[in-house]
Amino acid sequence: MKFSFNKKDIQEILSKIQGITGRKTNLTITSDILIKAVGSQISITANDLETVFTGTYDAQVETEGILSINSKKFFEIIREYPDNEIIVNEVENRWVEIGKGDSLYHIVASDYENFPETPLIENIDFIEVDAKDLKKMVAISSVVGFSGDEKRIYVLGSLIEKIVSDGQELLRIVSTDSRRLHCYDAQFKGELNLPEESVIIPKKGLSELNKFIDSNSDPIQVGIKENYFIFQRANESVMIKLLDGEYPDYKPIINYDEMIPMEVDRNMFITLMRRISILTSDDYKSVILTFKDNELTVTITNPEIGESKERLMIGFSGKEIKSAFNPKYFMDALNLFEDSIVIINVKDSKSPCIIKSLDDDKLVCVIMAMHIS
């Protein structure tokens, strides 16, 4: 096969798929990309057996063909290539020539027959989601991370389900690491048919998706079919294989009915938490929040470093509440909001703190307390 393309058309996308091809899997070929040259276009596919990206781009195809080539090396060559027009030519079996004239590269390609099959999913009922909302959903999912040896499906993945609120159908994402839980509802257009009541999407795949969403772009088409979460935009699509497992019943967790609500200035609260967390260390992550007579006092005592105390006026009356938290979780959660005022709900030292907007329940963040004796 032989084709040429414009560097600027391809370079960015090659950069975006490095996350997919960079992931270690059981197959070495997942670090390759599959390039198909047909008609006047080339299609590029990356597949880490969980997330599949496919995109088609204009190119000048001289002879049609198919090629599996190392993603990282191909990207680096393209990125550094001095000219705008780049020629790719399979000179003989799997011996690929890139460039011409003064800069000439030869790369050994893999046998494309071994490249994992791209799932062929047709007749997808897409719904439309605002790019901004989708971006937020991804942020909700990825802010609550997981460690390398995590095995719990509900921590590895985020839940997506359809809910009905005030007669309106909404797309909900829930993400947790069992210490905190974030829940976000997005509007959508179209008809959503989930294979089950809810699905679990791997956080890893969703964070890869983030690179393909441009907040300012038009609404994005999203569908769920045949065990894949499918994202489509113009000439590009990303398919993320769903996780199979149980998601715990999270609804009682986000219920703040019997809690005491308080308004706080979001920015002030974030900066307070940032300051107080200066004195945290690996062994001492907790700060103590004391709510008492219109005042919130946040203190930390770290025997390794020292102690500090911060005070904030707050609308609170009633019996004193003293509760310990990890301040990082507050910063993570508060950064997801855009409102200047948020509501924090507390109950007692054994209950979580629930943060939500002043006006609605679009975004609800639950942070579990730490146990103090």
């Binding site: 947790t176 069992s178 210490r179 839980l181 715990p248 992550k285 907790s286 639950v366 146990h371 004796s373």
Partner: protein, 390 residues
């Protein structure tokens, strides 16, 4: 000045004190199986060349008349506590390093009690008066020399290395006596023609670093009479473990399970006594051919119940491919945290953890029963028949 106090034949001395029939006789403290090793030998037994860690059968070969006394670690621990209390009367800076050894920093105490030698005499006298036990004390300006000094005049002696004598002592100190220099290091020492600590002066610090790694720097410092290690008063345990050499080699999973359970119980009990929770469980297996392996794993959450420790230990054990019979089996825990330190609670509590929490309260109840009525009063049902194996 640093004092290193080392009790003389600690376990044996206690037994001889408590049982006049054993006095002035060669005795050894050891398990009753013929495969046990000597944990302490009385000075009478040492004359026959019997020493700690020697297999019992060998000890018996050396001296047929040797009396074997089964140990009682609770009794020794109680005595140890009393000794530490006596030492603490002389200085607040006491670092207990083992059941029968402690370092004391007596800086600033001279005005109260007298010169270092006088203080050492007073400590010896106090221990002897109250507990009828003797000890050997080494006095030196630095920790490692104090330890070496205490070994120079044993039993019941005092050795004083003054600041001026340090250089001379270091010059002639056999390198094998330096703490931390083991078999591997000795091989290198022989190649480098290092026989005494003073010989290290021949070599540049860079070379020592290269040859001995981290140890190189420390050896260099020691050879110049510098010991940066301080007296660590709030001594906290970094790991707790329990192990037994079996009376005969085993390969049966059922017996191994019971042993793991017994050790998990013991380790768990010690852990809870220290008011700690742990994040790492390990097992140690020594095979019939004396090769030894350890396996450890991080636990999903902080634990302190014996059954949680047992479950982790068992899963580690089940992953080991056994090709040889087992001679020794042990369970250990490490990576501790204060039980009362704040712990992140879970929003979604996995069922396993709820069970762990329940076992924790069961274990605490069992602990307090043992505390009050003795350790034999209550045990796991499956361990009731265990005695014949251990």
């Amino acid at each position: 000045m640093i004092l290193h106090i080392d009790m003389d034949a600690f376990f044996a001395a206690i037994e001889q004190r408590d049982n006049p029939a054993l006095r002035n006789k060669p005795i050894i403290i050891a398990g009753d199986s013929k495969r046990s090793v000597v944990s302490t030998a009385s000075y009478e037994a040492r004359k026959f060349g019997i020493h700690s860690a020697m297999p019992v059968f060998q000890a018996k070969q050396r001296c047929a008349k040797v009396i074997l006394v089964p140990g009682n670690r609770y009794k020794y621990a109680a005595e140890s506590k009393k000794i530490m209390a006596i030492i603490s009367d002389f200085s607040p800076l006491v670092e207990q390093v083992s059941i029968d050894e402690a370092y004391v920093d007596i800086q600033g105490c001279e005005k109260l009690f007298g010169s270092p030698e006088v203080i050492a005499q007073k400590i010896k006298a106090a221990i002897f008066k109250e507990l009828f036990l003797t000890c050997s004390i080494g006095i030196a300006p630095v920790k490692f020399l104090a330890k070496i000094a205490s070994d120079m005049d044993k039993p019941n002696g005092i050795t004083f290395i003054s600041k001026h004598e340090m250089a001379r002592v270091i010059k002639d100190l056999p390198i094998a006596k330096v703490p931390g220099v083991g078999k591997q290091a000795m091989k290198l020492m022989a190649i480098l023609q290092i026989h005494t600590l003073g010989d290290l002066h021949k070599y540049d610090i860079c070379l020592l670093n290269k040859k001995f790694g981290k140890m190189g720097k420390r050896l260099h410092e020691l050879s110049h009479g510098k010991d940066l290690s301080r007296i660590e008063t709030n001594y906290s345990r970094k790991s707790i473990s329990s192990e037994t050499t079996l009376s005969k080699d085993i390969s049966d999973l059922k017996i191994a399970r019971q042993l793991l359970l017994a050790h998990s119980q013991r380790v768990g009990r010690d852990l809870r006594k220290e008011k700690m929770i742990c994040h790492n469980v390990s097992i140690k297996i020594k095979f019939s051919d004396f090769t030894q392996i350890t396996r450890s794993k991080q636990t999903d959450s902080w634990i302190c119940s014996s059954s949680a420790i047992f479950n982790e230990a068992l899963s580690l054990y089940e992953k080991v491919v056994l090709k040889k019979k087992i001679r020794l089996l042990g369970v250990g825990v490490s990576h501790f945290m204060d039980k009362n330190a704040p712990i992140q609670m879970e929003l979604l509590c996995p069922p396993k953890e709820k069970i762990n929490k329940k076992w924790e309260s069961v274990d605490m109840a069992v602990d307090s029963i043992m505390e009050k009525f003795g350790s034999g009063m209550i045990t796991k049902a499956s361990l009731n028949k265990r005695k014949k194996h251990v």
